[in-house]
Symmetry: C2
DNA sequence: CATTTTTATACCCATTAGGGTACAAAAATA
DNA sequence: TATTTTTGTACCCTAATGGGTATAAAAATG
């Protein structure tokens, strides 16, 4: 799968038929954050990402690099 | 295992017999960052964490919550 | 196509992450 | 126990994240 964080959130959000503002509110983060994250911004805060992932029963963890 | 990011880095660092300052330099981050991360600080930047994990051939990814 | 909805970009601004450095505390070692 | 090494805490400072909001662009819908 090698799903990036960005695409994972985007796909999960669409599965739930939520818009970015709706997801942002549910997670308690800003709209801009959701957008930047879905666009692959790397310099985001870990706790904010986890706030979003929590809605999907997931979180950030260490995985093996697939190089 | 449910290894947290903090303990993962700490253990990998010790496997390589590196001090925190040495690891920080290798990864190109600050010493304070390594310390705060190993102590479980959540509000860290994703890209900085990946700079460290890269030394161990790993990275941050989405995992299922073990709740 | 026209209209509505959704997403992306641009601006301002407060908060804070993270760098450095110095010193204290703890751990390891002789 | 004394000494050295490693780790933790405290302070200052700059850069940038993330929030809001307004507007433009793109996508979806009738």
């Amino acid at each position: 799968m090698n799903t990036s964080i960005a695409t994972f959130i985007k796909e999960k959000r669409k599965q739930l038929k939520l818009t970015q503002p709706e997801l942002a509110e549910k997670a308690g983060v800003g709209i801009r954050f959701v957008r930047e994250l879905e666009q692959g911004k790397q310099s985001v805060r870990l706790d904010k990402v986890n706030q979003l992932l929590d809605l999907f029963g997931s979180e950030l963890g260490v995985i093996q690099k697939t190089n």
